[in-house]
Amino acid sequence: MSHTPNRWKRYADWDARPLRLDRFAAEDPAHGFSAFSSPADPKPGIGIKAGRVISIDGVLERDFDMIDRFIARHHLDLDIALEAMAMDSGEVARMLVDMHVPREKLVRLAHGMTPAKLADVVSRLNALEIAFAYSKMRARKTPGNQAHVTNAKDDPLQLAADAATAVAFGFDEIETTMRVSRNAWSNALACAVGGAVGRWGTLFQCSSEEAEELRIGMAGFTSYAETVSVYGTEKSFTDGDDTPWSKAFLAAAYASRGIKMRCTSGAGSELLMGFHESKSLLYLEARCLCLQRGMGVQGTQNGGIDGAPVTATVPGGVRELMAENLIAVWLDLECASGNDARTTESEIRVGAKILPYLVAGSDLICSGFGSILAYDNSFNPSLFNGEELEDYLVLQRDFEADGGLTPLPESRATELRQRAVEALGAVFDELGLAQATDKMKGSVVAASGSLETESFTPREASIISEKIKEQGLDVVAVIKALAKRGFREEAENLLAVVKLRLSGDYLQTSAMVRDGRIVSAINDPNDYLGPGSGYRVSEERRLELNSIRDVIDQKEVLRQEAQHEKPEKARIGYKSLGEAHPGDAKNEVVIGISPAFGLKLFQTTAGHNLSEILSTLTGAIKARGLKPRIVRFNHTADTSFLGLSAARLSGSGIGIGIQAKGTAVIHQRDRLPHNNLELFSNAPITRIEHYKGMGSNAAAYALGEMPEPIVVPTKGEAMGSRYHARTALIYAIETELTREGAAPEEIEVSFKS
């Protein structure tokens, strides 16, 4: 009978991990699955004759498709093109990562480069170099972030509360969209009101059908638009129902209405639309980006976007997303750098995806961080969602990197949510749009997501939306309603955002509002030229990033310990009998306790009272017919030395050393300090039964037996992350009490009932 296994079960373990839900695609350039290069990609090149572009990347003028034609006419600067195209791509790549080469010099060269040239240069950089170059080349110095604010019911009350919360977390922009397209006006009004709670300056967009979106913008509810998509092949473009000219016309229309605007493009869109021409993802994206600069838009939402998940299935796909973002900023475009559509089920891949952006900074690190729960995200789940927002806050703190967000105290969040639903309820009432009851508002304030609310339904939102549209309500009516109903601060805030469109200052590249002032690539240009330059986290900002919740310090640990002092004193008494001396009774086992044991510290990190630990140990030793002796050491708090010192005083030569936090050893007097008989290092998971076994085994060793060592089972918990901060603080309390050469004390313990 053979027992040859047919599978290593580790593969079954791996099968069960979220990662295995991700599917990966083979590299296949012919079918568009190639990140950086495809045989179909053209070689960089340009032909100029009599001030006219006669070829781009090997395509002659008569064969230009709409994209080539637009790039030739509107992107390429012919005064620079010959010089830039003649440069060695490797040399330009090195300039991108050379901190001594200023950004402006590289931006100037990009004005004369074709898509194939730009792609050729950035594809020479590895992931780290891309991230570095991105950090150097992005247009605005101060990083920012954008949130999605949506919910599964299009409930306006929840939108208002969630918009207020997103604003408070520090998002510079919020973007909404609808489950039901006719709810656009309701969504827009709700987010505009919610986004005016707490502070002013968060820009807001309502992603909807092009014409409707512009109308909503003209009514003053929104302040920017970004869903003006462009594509890297002509057929994708026309299937997307647009052309470079129609989109450029739309860009001018937004400018004419004083509304900030950026385009959207990203790897994988042509692949998903079926017209990739067997070109690499990066090359197609380089075309999109040259096109956008040619259109004269200030910025781009770029980095896969809806195509990010399919891009991430391709080898090198995530590096490609970074590379296309680099081209965007190199072309001097504001970059809302993707990190929105969730590319993976693996939290490890999520964390890895965000890190380069977090440390490099970006105009908008996520072009849609899901500030709401994943199921409420009407764009589809984001890379980060409401569930993981605190993880992101901690990443900022870990790397001292400004990801644009600031921790929000719980009480403040509740306060703002309450204010937001009250404000919107008042506007609805004042304008005769709907009645928001206290019950509805209450459910929304408390709700983490729409499954928990008893509020407006999608149908009711449609009725509200239709009324707003039919009555021709605009933001002025909403501002008046807010002011009339006592929400003067919110009225001021909303007016301040609408007023931005008068000067058009926020139409310039990479503009956002910080502390009531416009900050853009013009008055806050990225001036990176090496360490000490570019964006630096100020000390003030660092303290903000640090202010995550539930941080412990020694004061907090002592406060928690003090709570146990009185009840412990009712259970156990420690009486010092003077200096302890070596014993000669073969039947004794010495238990060496640490300096703060039972005096300043009263529980193990697993939460067991030290009285119970001592009664268990002594009970187990007695059960084997031996005699426990308790000695307090004051010269050391180290487990090994406590154990060895105890063993040296013990007539049997066996001792137990135990710290107040519960870490313990069984030692034998002739062994080296760290070569003990048994070690119980994982105090947080060491249970009473293990301490019983410890006492029992110590007795067994004293009797000359060889017992089965006690193994405290671990499930692989990250013990260090859970306990080390507390442990280190507790241990410091012990070490503070130690005195060099201090004599051991014989302790008489009395258990009270």
Binding site: D241, D474, R501, L502, T509
Partner: protein, 137 residues
Amino acid sequence: MKRSDYPLAETAPHDVKGQRGKAYADITLDAVISGDVTMEDLRITPQALRAQASIARDVNRPTLAKNFERGAELVAVPQEFIMQCYELLRPGRAKSKDDLLAAARTMRDTYEATDIAAFIEEAAQAYEERGLFVKRF
């Protein structure tokens, strides 16, 4: 206008005006409450867009400047006509080059939008050469 004139709302709050001539600095909440402010007062002017265009040029963003200039031309164009032109520029909407050329003429003759007109004409030429005047739905 240069980089140093930016941001206009801070450097010249009394010169930045809405479409009815009301200055940025005078658009206050009390003015809104008293009914003195309408959406017209909150609309950008061609002057402001041209100022932003010259600032954009000063910081080496010529394509952005051109977009602002096209935008300046569209300020006075009614929303319906803007949307009509946008629709015509989408693939297959115009039956022939003539539809686009007519729109361009209106832009030039009625609204003095010369850059926009030239831009639409350029599109018409491109669409013809790329065979875009085909029925799509």
